[in-house]
Symmetry: C2
Subunit: 402 residues, 2 copies
Amino acid sequence: MFFERKPKFAVLGAGHGGQAMAAHLALMGYEVNLFNKTATRIEAVRKIGGIHLSGVFNGFGKLKKVTTDLRQAIAGVDIIMIVTPATAHEFFARALVPVLEDGQIVVLNPGRTGGALEFAQILKEEGFKKKCYIAETQTFLYASRVIGPAQARIFGLKNIVPIAAFPAVDTPVVYNKLHRVFPQFTPAKNILKTSLENIGAVFHPVPTILNVGRIESTRGDFTYYHEGISPSVARFAQMVDDERMAVALRLGVDVLTARDWMRKVYGVQGNTLYEVFQNNRQYDGIKAPATIDHRYIYEDVPMSLVPISSLGRMLGVPTPAINTIIDMACLLHERDYWAIGRTVEKLGLAGMTVKEIQSYVETGKVKVRRPSKVSRFTVGSEVERVVDLGHIIREREGGVDN
Amino acid sequence: MFFERKPKFAVLGAGHGGQAMAAHLALMGYEVNLFNKTATRIEAVRKIGGIHLSGVFNGFGKLKKVTTDLRQAIAGVDIIMIVTPATAHEFFARALVPVLEDGQIVVLNPGRTGGALEFAQILKEEGFKKKCYIAETQTFLYASRVIGPAQARIFGLKNIVPIAAFPAVDTPVVYNKLHRVFPQFTPAKNILKTSLENIGAVFHPVPTILNVGRIESTRGDFTYYHEGISPSVARFAQMVDDERMAVALRLGVDVLTARDWMRKVYGVQGNTLYEVFQNNRQYDGIKAPATIDHRYIYEDVPMSLVPISSLGRMLGVPTPAINTIIDMACLLHERDYWAIGRTVEKLGLAGMTVKEIQSYVETGKVKVRRPSKVSRFTVGSEVERVVDLGHIIREREGGVDN
């Protein structure tokens, strides 16, 4: 084991996160390829063959290949780190189908809610037959920024980054390959844990939407977590968090409340979500987005809130605050996030009971229902009927359906 | 006609509007009683027997009676001016049932959406038998403030204040009594016009909700119409306005768009709602509310947006932007504005067709449907079915139902 060959990496996505990770891996001595869809973003990196890293780590991270050719990028590597907004996960799943090699590990950094499930579902639908490993992290490892051409800076690293594979039986394979590289990676029970402990679902869309006027008229020139999160904004975020917790509880997943997450990650105290935000000195000076055309809405609404809402609807857990925020986002962006987002259908969970979902995330296998179990079928069709009616009424009520 | 006895007034409500109107009427030489539910607010006025008025009009308005006794306040008067938030209209309707006298005129200043209809429906339900006249204005006559104990100031008056009675056949009676007192009052076709040209529905809830964080963290220390209405806020307000116009169009009512209203009332130009707001110099310096517990939400959501949404749902006009703003308000205030608000049921319009509504607002009479017209009945029950389903799904989807 000790003399095991060092894994080779491909980092897909050359934004703030991808360039930092590629450079860091290279500095640690790993062979790394960097892929980006558009050539302009990696032009400078390609010219000098690597990335200057500063901040927590300093040095030149020399890359093996810098390319816009996905096949070349992943050929012969062991681990594929996808470091993009979750909105790009579907693109990568479809693009990787013809080029993925047997035994490769794909990690979504992070998966948001349902990333690994959606990815696996696309491979299934596309008839993918090889054995690969699909995993997601609960959050992104670094706080990092691209600070110039081929220059990245890592401001900080999280101590613990939960990771899980879909199915969970594959988590040990992924963990064993990665934990020597990133000791922060910690195995989570399964992807329901990493997906439902996605705290961005609580921290991003609500404060952005309840500050639209200020974001646009000041171009984000106010402190997001302190000035942006007033008592009513925090109370609304708490409602969203309560709904997230209720869906997790229904699925038997033990996740932290947003307040406990803040206490654990930042060590801050407070009786309410408002107090922990205000008491968190590490949020000092963090500015709001400069525009509402921001991933806090276009990523977190379809990839975090829609899957929680969709699971809630299927399992009979009401999510009125989440639904209203999704509706607001649809109207503000004039985009149908209900259709774009990760529904239970896209996650391959449609019609499943809680027990079936729990078994599916562990084994990856859908239990075949025995025809004799009529009651089981009835439950399934009940669920579908509710979803259908919801659709009809959404249109009747004038819901967003553009 | 010229020597007709001067009408006697009761002004109900001693807030910013009521004190200004009572003092102004008294200054013009009319006999005026002032009523307020709570004694403290009229204590100073009662002590000195009137109100010092300043601004556009100056002088001491001596009042006949200043009282918390409704029967005393309205005994023997000709015209009862209700000058309160629309949320108090229901209280006044119920409280007036036992004391209203034959021939008295009640004017809601303003009615918001459906004020006169709701008022008349309550009289009907309470078995009120006398002949009174119920009218509503489209907007409030003054810009005024209480500036001290028994001191009111009128900053300005609107040139035109549309007024209509329910039913419209009564409008001439009301107009003839009032137009010599208030030449600004102009008869509108019917209450659909005054109710659907309620521009507060467009200007109040959307900018307040999309600025919750800023309102609370600055206590309203920013300009409401200029800094508060950014391009996306104006776009959202435009969607609300488009839905209001669509409901009006379905009812055959010719109302101004918000943009045209701004052009007409303030003489400002602009291609978009955003531009007319920004170009309106008369909005300079108007600050936002200091709290979100403000009539811009607790009055305009249930008394302006809910009736428009409810009419839209009954008549097949989708109002997704309005519905989402109502949902947001319910969650922010933890109050069920869908239940509190003026639905078609409360307006006495439930189950009516467009033609029936048009006829009802003119004559006050509900057409009795002939049993032979089965198709007509089918339409009625169709409508009810849709409304019912909406209710079911709202609960299933986790809509607000507290």
